[in-house]
Subunit: 359 residues, 2 copies
DNA sequence: CTGAAAGCGCTAACAA
DNA sequence: TTGTTAGCGCTTTCAG
């Protein structure tokens, strides 16, 4: 593989000139430029990014860490990130963690060793994670994605308020026995906040929040679990009339289990999701859900990160004054809350009359 | 940021010893090792991967290029890739192309400049792409993903045979008027091969293949287009009784348009997809489709790529003999065809009786 | 406008 | 077992 020296020799100039010809053509005499370009083409010269990165200040690499791509919510977000960096000359280094905190640690370290210019992270639990503190202490440019931690640099919806609004819709539809279904609660700060929102809405309506029904994401026997739980509830005479699922994927799984258990949605039981996956609208009945703008979340997070990176470079030496860049930086260090939306759908209806059961 | 020299100084040894302590601990006296580790920890030393990569033979980077992550088929594949490289110390550099050939060129070049050890690519059209030839000519380790080009290193299903089998199922269900719906045919070699398979199945049953109905993926007015087309067909008295969609996402969109046009699936018209997206099983009716093992495609492609990379390293100097590595390499240079599967689903039923219309 | 030279941080001979 | 040294390919002063 030809290197810059080969090109220089062939073009009859020094490697410095080749470098300039490639990076700052205007600094080079047109004639020389042409010779260099010709030489480069003939030798099929491919600049080695590693050399440049080692030497330079920035690598142009952005580290992206997501729990999984099996959930379209994250794939969508990644599309937004891609869209935002398109044309900026940045590239993406991608890692998934499967919601495993240890993998999170390792992944971040790996990304940092590659000297990424910045980090876009979705953590299992941002609030109790010391990682983010360490990162900001180290001065690493970083934005959290989906995590809504008020005091941290992140882009998300207001999970608590959004969930409350969704549940309020259920209540308005006439439901009183509403249970929230979640994955492992401890594994996701978003699920936790949504549960808080559920509680808010219940109490606001004078209802008592019920414990969440947690189902292990990774267990294959999800349908089984749901059926058992329903049977138990049935026996207690306390089958809920509506289920609020902490995310759409879970809602889909739950609905399948419901169907297999012989229950009709929404006739026998209503279901509300969270995320706003596009597929939800293609189902019949369509999935009622709390929509978060996943692509925009990714896009904004990436844009903020880029601004942060640029600001950082621009701020060098501008110590004295609270510059415009500094002002911007302050905003970038705080949460950006994007608007959510309630998507009404066929999976929510009025609760069935069950006077006989109750009486 | 502390570098290896700082650590050496603090540990009271040379940088070579630090390097060894980090990479080959067994070559270093336990006591020295401990000193180095302590020093590294105290200084929060983070090895700079760029330095190592610039020096070394390999970077540990794998370049992945996919059309989009908006289609879960590719997200699933990426999950498979992730799974395969997990624990191997490789990292992923990800780029999406939106099916744009120019972006494909640029993306590959970018990846190569970063000195990736190998490439995992889904091209718009692998057969007519000179890119792959160039790559193998340059000796770049590379596997195509989803593209089934018989003579190239790739992992896919037999799109033609799979499509034929799916269409045969429609015919078996009693359909004779079957139209294939695709995105822009020229933009995807898979769609083209599936159309060939459609033709095979039709002719095998003594039927005449019909022209494909192409809908632009990127047009927002997809539903509109479908309705117009249907109306036209209706007027001609030639409304098909079944639609074979070149992928599941398209099938979902088509079904929605059908519904909006007042047609019931499968009562009025049957729909068959291709891909086997998980969501298809959650719909009601469930989506009949030709299933390709997306995760496995990704996994196998990554495994083959890793083998190729290792083989390459191992083969250095082993010029004389047709070594075992050489044998393996030969296989890695050819297509790996994974088995597909027909998933029967509620979207396919017998065609409606339309004696009155026909007569 | 161009060239010489000094590294960026690390690994791997080669010596000791 | 450890140290010295020569780069990997590139950018960027600083001179000319």
């Amino acid at each position: 593989m030809a290197d810059i020296r080969d090109v220089a020799q062939r073009a009859g100039c020094s490697i410095a000139t080749v470098s300039r010809a490639l990076n700052s053509p205007q600094l080079v005499r047109p004639e020389t430029l042409a010779r260099v370009q010709a030489a480069a083409a003939e030798l099929k010269f491919r600049p080695n990014a590693l050399g440049r990165q080692l030497r330079g200040e920035r690598t142009g690499l952005i580290g992206v860490m997501l729990p999984t791509l099996g959930n379209p919510v994250f794939a969508d977000c990644l599309e937004g990130i891609e869209a935002a960096i398109d044309g900026t000359g940045h590239r993406l280094l991608l890692v998934t963690t499967q919601y495993d905190p240890e993998r999170e640690r390792n992944a971040i370290e790996t990304l940092l060793q590659q000297r990424v210019d910045g980090l876009l992270l979705t953590l299992a639990d941002a609030e109790h994670s010391a990682l983010v503190d360490d990162l900001s202490a180290e001065g690493v440019a970083c934005q959290l994605v989906y995590n809504d931690a008020p005091l941290r640099p992140c882009v998300s919806v207001d999970n608590r308020a959004a969930a409350a609004q969704g549940v309020a819709m259920l209540i308005e539809a006439g439901h009183r026995d509403i249970v929230m279904v979640t994955g492992a609660l401890h594994a996701s700060d978003r699920a936790k906040r949504r549960y808080l929102g559920y509680g808010d809405a219940m109490r606001a309506a004078g209802l008592t929040p019920l414990p969440a029904f947690e189902i292990d994401f990774n267990s294959g026997a999800r349908g089984e679990r749901v059926r058992e739980w329903l049977a138990q509830r049935e026996r207690d005479g306390a089958r809920p009339t509506a289920l609020f699922c902490s995310n759409d994927l879970l809602a889909l799984g739950v609905m399948r289990a419901l169907r297999e258990a012989g229950l009709r949605v929404p006739d026998d039981i209503s279901v509300l999701g969270f995320d706003g996956l596009a597929v939800g609208e293609l189902l019949s009945p369509t999935l009622a859900t709390v929509v978060q703008p996943s692509v925009d979340i990714g896009r904004h997070a990436a844009q903020r990160l880029l601004a942060q990176i640029d600001g950082r470079a621009g701020a060098v030496g501008a110590v004295g004054a609270a510059s415009a860049a500094g002002m911007r930086d302050a905003a970038l260090g705080q949460a950006l809350i994007l608007p959510h939306e309630i998507r009404r759908g066929g999976t929510v209806a009025a609760p069935p009359r069950r006077a006989a059961v109750r009486g």
